[in-house]
């Protein structure tokens, strides 16, 4: 029994180590034509347009809540967070992430492929970046055709709470 466990663990760890070491995986999403990446480890689910129940008196950044297989997930309007023009919530895709033990869904325009990216392509935020973006960005990846901003989910959702608290 014990042996079995050990055996099954070892190769797994090696694999994980390898992939972690060499590349990182990102779920790519597009918001207002900007490519954003979320670490695949953060992403629980990707959903198509959902029925969103609005929450009266909540902040603009909160789009509402939705029923994810019996769990209530709060939808965060990423466009609002980033100070972009709002889009029709009924046509937005949802990326479900976890923040401090609770699930949130981030509304995005569309979801692209999962990319394996090498840390060498990673660069820090340009200091001239819009502060709203800089606050929630963990850096930029240079892809052949375009640039991908790495989205810091915790900061994005955390900032909503902060504004509320203030």
């Amino acid at each position: 029994m014990n042996e079995l466990v050990v055996k099954s663990q070892t190769p797994g760890t090696e694999l994980d180590l390898a992939s972690n070491y060499y590349t990182e995986q990102f779920v790519t999403v597009i918001i207002a034509d900007q490519l954003l990446g979320l670490s695949v480890l953060n992403v629980h689910d990707i959903l198509g347009p959902q029925k969103i129940a609005s929450i009266p008196l909540s902040r603009n950044e909160i789009a509402g809540s939705l029923n994810l297989r019996g769990k209530i997930v709060t939808a965060v309007d990423v466009r609002q967070c980033m100070g972009l023009e709002p889009a029709d919530i009924n046509e937005q895709m949802h990326v479900v992430v976890e923040h401090l033990g609770d699930q949130y869904s981030l509304t995005v325009d569309s979801v692209g492929e999962v990319l394996n990216l090498h840390p060498k392509d990673h660069e820090a935020n340009p200091p001239t970046m819009d502060s709203r973006w800089r606050d929630v960005s963990m850096g930029i990846y240079q892809l052949p055709e375009r640039l991908m901003v790495v989205l810091d989910v915790d900061k994005l959702i955390g900032s909503i709470g902060e504004i509320k608290a203030a």
Partner: protein
């Protein structure tokens, strides 16, 4: 069986199971101190508990075992196989005794002297004679069985003999048992009980290679039977289970909902069964969380006993229905309130024995706790046969605390008055005892009970006692809720707080009526305040925007040419909005195209991103629903404690069992929601919290006002610090008048016929006294008949009525203007709600009514200060002087007011004496800071308390003020605490003086 005993049994069996494993470990690593310590501790615990529970036989065995273990632990004895075997034997005996205990509830007869002797012998020196015969049998099996299970079977009989020997020395039931056990070991070996027999080598390895092969089998059985009775499960596991069942219930509900739309489905039957099973499962899981309420009562007898001793009362506590079960979570939450209330009953309720005898009651007072189930609720009664509540005292206290006016109190029924004790800051205990009256009052109890959706009621009969009835739901996890709709959004309202539903339509008996923008409903001759869910949740943004816009367009079109007084604009907008919407609806139906063209403007404004067509459809739909809802609305009458109010909604659907799920942390600050849930159709809805709504209503009105004045009157709110409540009224000539609400005692209407004249002055009989009536000014004509509205100013015994024409409103506003007035009766003018408004000089009227008002109030006004304190007020603003003098006078100060620091110092030099000096900071010529410096440095007032009264309330300002020598620094607007703080300043000053003198 005794609760304690069964708990002990469960716990000890668990401990023993651990011990068995550990002691074998120990044999392998004899020097593992930590392990030894562990074992020792466990045995020690068993011994200790036995002593506590009065189990001498068990205790003796455990004690002997502990002795040996103690020596092992201290290194006095080496851990030998013999020793370990003896210990194991000791454990087995303990198990056997436990088994008997479990079956019969008492220890079996007999003694364990042989075992104890052997253990003692080991403890004394390892190889004592009593243990001599042991080694052959006990020494071998232990290590071998651990290593090689096969051999243990061979040894089993030998061990059995060993045990036999032991058991022969114990007569009574032990013999039978032993016999049985042996038989079992021999004949029923394949039995899958945890026998460490040959067939189950792993078990044998894990179990002790005990010398008593059959004994563990037997004990094992007992262990299992205890285990089936109760096992310890981590609460988290139960919570998880509960959550999952909740989910299951939700899914079931969804399925049932789907089923309803498919009439002849083949799924109907299985779903029906699923539904039943789910319900059973739900109940079953719920039961796992249930605990008898007696657990929460366990401490009470002791509390009552101590109380009785301390207070010299004779009190008997009766507890009925202690086995009534309720949810663990609920139990935890009501524990403290219950304790508090029982204490209260004993402390406040039950009289002293002499009093009781005098009242021909039995000397011993009785407090009865009774719990029982009633329709999904548990009812807990706390009844005492004491003196009942002193309603008069309660009313007095309510008056003192300013909770109610004397008039309100007079019209209160006894029942209503008794509910007052649930209000904050209400302890009528004449003196604070160590038990109650510490300010943690019934309000806390009520809040705690309401938090869990419970209610509390009180019945009291003077002289016969009081009864509290607490009604709480059995569980918090699943509640039944009413689904309502407002503006197309659905919400759930917990059924528990819903008292009734009222439907109002154009032709219904009940109508929503309006008092200056506040909706009320006449319900059985009582006014029920109404809260519109639509407004509360700001659901109506779009419609209002649209109609506002139209309103503007229309007024432009019609070229009315005048601007409405701002205060009325909103009301107008509202009424017109209604008619507008109706019109809009028609328009939308007949001229859909035209509407569609018009919409885009509005769409832009509302920053909505829906496409044009959709928007127009929506708006038509909205308008229609609005039209319908105008004709028909529902009012949910909710009750929070004793406060009832109505929530206006558009529609009411059925009730559903919902699982309350907490909202995401980032939404927690919205107090109006207690959680959210998923309905049968899969949609997510918010659960309204009636408590939160009740709490927020006050704030909501304020917030609305603030928003309005910000919008309408621009920057005035910048002086937010100076905001005060003003009563606006019309009287005499000119614009509206205002008086600070804090000075107004009451508003009254008197019949003109009731006015009498005495000494040529108009009077009215008011509460069995004559109250002088003062006209606002000379030009005012007193109506000959009909009602005359009065503003009553009062000071304890003396009241005066000021005749006015009409009450306009109460506003919260920043009073800023220092424009003083020529007329004596006007203190100044300011802009309120966009209009120039005169603020009346109350002191002028008071003086007119009672020439000696100030002197008199000075003498008898303030009960706390025996003689009136002389107070010097320095403020350059006539306006504020006039505002503050009456406040201070009413509070019992003899006030002298001057307009500058220079004048104050002159008074000082002339030898005037004051008890306290109150000064403004910002003054021309000499600021308050300079003044206090002067006073402190070289005047005969330097010891006097000097208090700053300023509108500069920055931290720096306050610091500077205190550094300059002020004893306290009070905000001009902080009228409520003004007098308190002045009194405090006087007291603290005099006490320090006393101290200095004493030194």
């Amino acid at each position: 069986m005794d609760d304690l005993l069964s708990e002990f049994l469960t716990e000890t069996s668990e401990n023993l199971a651990t011990l068995d494993v550990e002691i074998v470990e120990l044999e392998k690593n004899p020097n593992d101190k930590e392990l030894l310590g562990n074992i020792f501790r466990l045995v020690h615990t068993i011994k200790g508990t036995c002593g506590f529970l009065g189990l001498p036989r068990l205790e003796a065995v455990a004690h002997a075992g502990e002795n040996v273990l103690g020596k092992f632990r201290d290194g006095e004895l080496e851990v030998t196989p013999e020793g370990v075997s003896a210990i194991l034997e000791c454990f087995d005996q303990i198990k056997y005794l436990l088994g008997e205990l479990e079956e019969t509830g008492t220890e079996p007869e007999g003694n364990d002297q042989a075992l104890i002797d052997r253990l003692n012998a080991i403890a004394d020196g390892g190889g004592a004679p009593a243990a001599a015969e042991q080694p052959e049998s006990a020494a071998e099996p232990a290590p071998e069985a651990a290593a090689e299970a096969e051999e243990s079977s061979e040894e089993a009989p030998e061990d059995g003999d060993d045990l036999q020997e032991l058991f022969n020395s114990t007569p009574g039931p032990a013999d039978d048992l032993n016999f049985q056990g042996e038989e079992k070991a021999e004949t029923k070996e394949p039995e899958p009980s945890p026998e460490p027999s040959a067939e189950s080598p792993p078990a044998a390895a894990a179990k002790p290679p005990a010398p008593s092969q059959d004994k563990p089998a037997d004990a094992g059985k007992k262990e299992a039977s205890i285990a089936t009775q109760s096992i310890r499960v981590n609460v988290d596991v139960l919570e998880d289970l509960m959550n999952m069942v909740s989910e299951l219930v939700l899914t079931r509900n969804q399925l049932m909902q789907i089923l309803r739309s498919h009439k002849d489905s083949e799924f109907a039957l299985p779903l029906q069964r699923l539904s039943h099973i789910t319900t059973d499962l739900q109940e079953g899981v719920m039961k796992t969380r249930m605990q008898p309420i007696g657990n929460a009562w366990a401490k009470l007898p002791r509390i009552i006993r101590d109380l009785a001793l301390e207070l010299n009362k004779k009190i008997e506590l009766q507890m009925l229905g202690a086995d009534t079960e309720l949810d663990r979570q609920v139990l935890d939450l009501i524990k403290d309130p219950l304790t508090h209330m029982v204490r209260n009953s004993a402390d406040h309720g039950i009289e002293m024995p002499e009093e009781r005898v005098a009242a021909s009651k039995p000397e011993t007072g009785k407090v009865v706790l009774n719990a029982f189930h009633e329709g999904g609720h548990i009812i807990i009664e706390i009844k005492d046969d004491g003196k009942g509540l002193n309603l008069e005292r309660i009313k007095e206290k309510a008056l003192e605390n300013g909770l109610h006016t004397a008039e309100e109190l007079e019209s209160m029924s006894d029942k209503q008055a008794s509910q007052l004790i649930f209000k904050a800051g209400f302890s009528t205990a004449e003196k604070v005892t160590s038990v109650s009256g510490r300010g943690v009052g019934m309000d806390v109890v009520r809040t705690n009970i309401e938090k869990i959706g419970g209610t509390i009621e009180l019945n009291t009969v003077q002289g016969q006692g009081s009864t509290f009835m607490i009604k709480i739901p059995l569980t918090l996890a699943i509640v039944s809720a009413l689904i309502v709709e407002s503006c197309g959004e659905k919400f759930a309202v917990p059924q528990l707080s819903v008292v009734e539903l009222v439907r109002v339509s154009k032709d219904s008996e009940q109508q929503i009526e309006d008092i200056r923008g506040t909706s009320v409903l006449r319900l059985r001759n009582r006014l029920l305040p109404l809260i519109s869910l639509e407004k509360l949740l700001k659901l109506e943004k779009f419609e209002i925007f649209a109609s506002n816009k139209k309103q503007v367009e229309q007024s432009l079109k019609e070229d009315l040419g005048f601007i409405e007084p701002p205060a009325e604009v909103e009301a107008k907008v509202e009424t017109e909005a209604e008619t507008e919407v109706e019109a809009e609806a028609e328009e939308a139906e007949t001229e859909a195209e035209a509407e569609a063209v018009k919409q885009p403007d509005e769409v832009e404004n509302t920053s909505d991103n829906d496409n044009v067509m959709k928007e127009s459809e929506d708006s038509a739909k909205l308008a229609k629903s609005e039209q319908r809802s105008l004709a028909e609305k529902y009012i949910i009458v909710a009750k929070v404690g004793t406060y009832s109010y109505g929530i206006i909604v558009d529609d009411v659907f059925d009730t559903e069992e919902i699982v309350v799920k907490p909202v995401a942390p980032i939404l927690r600050d919205i107090s109006i929601f207690s959680g959210n849930t998923i309905l049968g159709d899969g949609s997510v809805i918010m659960i309204l919290d009636p408590n939160g709504i009740a709490d927020s209503t006050g704030e909501i009105t304020l917030a609305d006002d603030a928003a309005q004045s910000q919008d309408d009157y621009g920057s005035k709110r910048n002086f937010g610090d100076n905001v005060m409540s003003l009563l606006l009224f019309k009287a005499g000539e000119g614009g509206p008048k205002a008086v600070p609400l804090s000075l107004v005692a009451r508003l009254e209407d008197v019949m003109a016929e009731k006015i009498e004249y005495s000494d040529g002055r108009p009077m009215v009989q008011y509460r069995e006294k004559l109250m002088p009536i003062i006209k606002f000014d000379a030009t005012q004509i007193m109506p000959e008949q009909g009602r005359i509205p009065l503003i009553v100013f009062t000071d304890r015994d003396h009241s005066m009525g000021l005749v006015i024409d009409d009450i306009v409103d109460i506003v919260e506003d920043a009073v800023k203007s220092d424009l003083t007035s020529e007329s004596e009766n006007i203190a100044g003018s300011t802009v309120i709600a966009g209009k120039a408004t005169d603020i009346i000089n109350v002191s002028y009227y008071l003086e007119k009514a009672f020439g000696d008002w100030f002197r008199r109030t000075g003498v008898e006004g303030n009960q706390e200060t025996e003689e009136s304190k002389r107070l010097l007020l320095i403020d350059d603003s006539m306006f504020f002087r006039n505002l503050i003098i009456p406040t201070l006078s009413v509070a019992g100060f003899d006030v002298k007011a001057v307009s500058s620091g220079k004048e104050a110092l002159e008074l000082c030099e002339q030898g005037y004496d004051f008890d306290v000096v109150v000064s403004d900071i910002e003054m021309p010529d000499m600021t308050g800071l300079q003044l206090v410096h002067e006073i402190r440095s070289h005047s005969n007032w330097k010891e006097k308390p000097v208090v700053a009264l300023s509108s500069l309330m920055g931290e720096e300002d306050i610091k500077r003020g205190l550094e300059a020598g002020f004893d306290d620094y009070i905000a001009k607007t902080d009228r409520e605490s003004l007098t308190d703080r002045i009194v405090k300043a006087i007291q603290s000053k005099s006490s320090t003086e006393d101290a200095e003198e004493a030194a």
